[in-house]
Symmetry: D2
Subunit: 339 residues, 4 copies
């Protein structure tokens, strides 16, 4: 068994990593840290793990222990303080924060308001959407695990941009469940605020914007203009991205569906469907994609994921599997709830 | 007191008309019809009206009675069978169905799959968004009360199109509460289907598309291309339309906000806000609008209404007030719930 | 017009008071205070009030101003610091906190963990459920506005206890929307925590327990044993209390329904129905009650209210109306949303 | 591999059986039937199963095939027409309907309004809550899979009744997600009806009442009086039962917790926790139980399950495992979602 640790295991993504790793056939979860909860049982914080995870939170990882893979589920800013020593000690790392996602440190500074403190490892990190950038992940020591919005959006749009089928301007109208906001209570995630409405927020200014743009430009090879509007909606898990692009030439729907089928051929976790559904993917690492042609030239792409699985911890494990030479689907090969 | 009747009073819009009319200072609700519920008490079907509406449903309107205003809350197809005789008998009519909204009967046939049977009254009907077409409403004998999506979208976009400020292509990503689907249970509104997700439906094919296009073209004086994606979301009341247009020239946000303020000056039910909220308008006839500039040239307009009030029964009463020469806000001048 | 002020107008009950008072035909809202928001516009905090409430928050009430009625929407502990000087200056007060509800200061100390600092006014305060204790309210200078759970429970059970029809032990299984928890974000009201489940909390230890017991004992004239389990459920507004009592003798359902009808005869805001519904009362000051006989001797009573209206601000205005000699229903006589 | 079939695979419990069986290490799902969907792909109806279940619905089971275990997910009334021939052909059966749960056919007729047509097999069926009646399940050819409410209630109360610790009268206030109502849209599960409220229904008259009573009497050995109030709440999956019993003698909480721990020692799927949570069990076969002592003598027991897993399909597989001599937890040993 491969040995794994989670740094920052108190939040939703940490809990979700543990939920998935505790049943992983090849990876053994051996340590979880949390400064706030050090000394207490993991199953006391995440009661669903009772009987599955028999660990206590540690303050920090024991420096004498070596893990094959470390998942860093710390906030941005904190990750880049932690990752360098892990890499130095020869451990492979999947970082779930935003610290290693934006390849240009100036772009990082612009969007996160911080100097990047680990430019060296930023340079060697791979951006981990395996369906798009598998080779880089396979050879990486450090994988930057993408944000939920970028994962859902880029899986939905990549075939079109890879085929040079659409104009550079893309409008993404994204709707996320509230667990994407993390475990810290805020006025916006306060149930009376968000429980009976859908709320657009950070219109054009969300930190996932440059990430989506970077990833799509990497796929496309050309510049992209992105208009990104996230919304908070009153469900806990799940995300839908409705994206709008204009075709460069006139394609029919069959052509586009074939394009997608070929692009995702052999990619276990992407499923083309007539009507993508959040319920179908909740709890699982799957992404559902559907599309429609509207008007003279517009493609409407709809994509759904579970923001905590394919949008965070599931994809992190998928990346780890690839980095470690394990079957890509190990520990993740089960269906969503469906209803 | 002005005398009013509701034809088709068993559904949500009929109940909502009664909820509002029962407190109206100038209109007296004197009759409600329902074939299904004829003979039973209105308050048995809508228990919130107990103590307020002491009527029984009638099979049809008594032909010997004359009402100053009749609200027709029948399904499309049925309305155009009912309206002609009401008009003939000299009664003013607000029709809440889709039958009199599309001025071109061929367009009606295309989208509703029916021959139009009352082209004569279609020709004289006014499209009732009072903030945009008040004069026509004021002189009309028959007002076609708009759909919820068109009301919310057009109020959000009218100032831009009236000013010739934006390109003709508009993308509307709309999210509606489930009460917009009406009272008939379906697989899509079954709670296990829709209770934990947001569902795009009728992408590019929703019947409100030609209505939005017609209304915006009337405001703009030029052709519009509309990409319209409705979504069903897990709240009961309320609607958000997120619309995307491209500016023809470069405007700053202040210019646009001023444009809106001037356009809606004196319009009681439209409120410009920083962050439009569904909760703020629920229960009321208000529409909240906000906007952001994103990228080089895109305006993102967000507008919210209560789909049953400003999107249906409230606007119907607003139209009736204008048709009858009453104060436009009579019976509607109270705030939304807020939380 | 009667002049009114709200102390502590930033929260949900303060906003709700303003929502109702701004349309009140006899009371004019002239001031609202908030230490946190002093100087800012009320309509900026509660955007639904835009166009209705044109006040700015004041730090504290101007000592030179005299109001006919002051609503104190401050937290418990703070209220008893504020109320004495208001009473002294000859103003009538409705206090929405828990400070003046429990007639015995020792019971207050036990449940709130504080010494009572205003025993004098505690002695003269009236407990304001007008349907049960109208005379005391009518002559009071200070009314303690009841909690939402006590209002809903006691209206549901009072006719049985007043008639000495049931045994002293009562089980109340209560379900509240999240707005009852107030405006402060907490882990429990964080949407990912509470958005997809119902959560029992403070089982047997909720501060509303002694209040329910006190009120029912006042109605009954004998001791009551109360088992009270509140639950937080994923809706914003509204509350259902399901209460279980055992009959002393065998009554049939008709007898009990008649008992209720007579008890609430002439009480505008209580409505006996077959199936009490939260949707029917949301937004309004109404309480719906229904009951069933189960087994040999058990009465199951179901009662619903809007926790922010009849459970807080609406009842506060109802109490104020009575204290001021206005019609009891003034400003409150409109139906709930229904759907 | 053991061979399994599902009769009636179009609904929620059928889909859920397939979701679980497709990852079962010892059971191979080989056929699913649906009259309505015969000929279409299972994954077209349940898109979450795409890539996992490659079956088409059959009209009926092929009479030449023999399965080791057949899950019958047909409506009550239909099951007792199907089961006899399966038993006759030597197949083991888990029936998920109500047809074989009530051991007395007269009680069945009273609550279901039908004559029982298969009294013979009713006589040999085992009531399948494995934590309570494992031996009977182990030797059964036919297991009646319990209802969701009885499973959740009886697991919560069994240790108290087995110990003769409580009086015979028990009050169960149960709250269920909407998926428990099945796949057929109705007025009650219509989102506008149930999406913003909690609705008590069939108070004292729900068909699960006699089932709960029968199971608890079997555990207790004495008569029980049950007051059962189910509520529909606005979540899709999950159930909470809040039960109230009176102690015969005075026990302290530690005693009761020890009683539960011992009773459920070695029972994998029951977890004692401080605060039972629906989120912790959703997606899984676990039941969480917590309790509080209130007043002089009342025990409040709270228990949660996923109504589609432990309340239906998961428990059916658990029963099948036992009947087939497989490890009881096979295919079910994973945690709930947690958030």
């Amino acid at each position: 068994m491969v040995k794994a640790a989670i740094i920052g295991g108190s939040g939703y993504t940490g809990g979700e990593l543990a939920r998935l790793l505790c049943r992983h056939p090849k990876i053994s979860l051996e340590a979880m840290t949390s400064r706030r909860l050090a000394g207490s049982k993991v199953a006391d914080e995440h009661s669903n793990l009772g009987g599955f995870v028999d660990l206590k939170y540690e303050q920090v990882l024991d420096v004498k222990e070596k893990y094959d893979i470390v998942f860093v589920a710390a906030p941005h800013g904190a990750s880049m303080e932690i990752v360098p020593s892990l890499i130095e000690r020869g451990m492979k790392v999947v970082d779930l924060s935003g610290d290693y996602r934006l390849s240009d440190p100036k772009v990082y500074t612009k969007w996160y308001g911080l100097e990047h403190k680990d430019v060296k490892n930023l340079g060697i990190s791979a951006y981990g959407i395996p369906e798009l950038f598998r080779d880089e992940v396979a050879s990486a020591k450090l994988v930057a695990n993408p944000g939920c919005y970028p994962t859902c959006t880029c899986l939905g749009l990549a075939p079109l941009f890879a085929d040079d089928a659409v104009e550079e301007r893309v409008i993404v109208d994204a709707k996320s469940g509230t667990s994407g906001a993390g475990m810290e209570p805020t006025m916006m995630t306060h149930h009376p605020t968000c429980g009976s409405q859908i709320i657009p927020y950070k219109v054009g200014t969300h930190r996932h914007s440059p990430e989506i743009q970077m990833a799509l430009e990497k796929v496309s090879g050309s510049p992209i203009e992105l208009i990104f509007t996230p919304h908070l909606m009153p469900i806990v898990r799940g995300m839908l991205c409705t994206s709008y692009v204009q075709m460069k030439r006139t394609f029919d729907k069959e052509y586009l569906l074939r394009l997608y089928s070929e692009f995702y051929s052999g990619k276990r976790f992407v499923r083309m469907v007539r009507s993508p559904s959040i319920s179908s993917v909740v709890g699982s690492n799957f992404c559902e994609i559907g599309l429609e042609l509207v008007g003279t030239s517009t493609v409407v792409v709809m994509s759904t994921i579970d923001n905590l699985v394919k949008g965070a911890s599931g994809q992190a494990i998928q990346n780890a599997n690839i980095m470690l030479g394990l079957p890509e689907t190990a520990g993740l090969d089960f269906p969503g709830l469906g209803v």
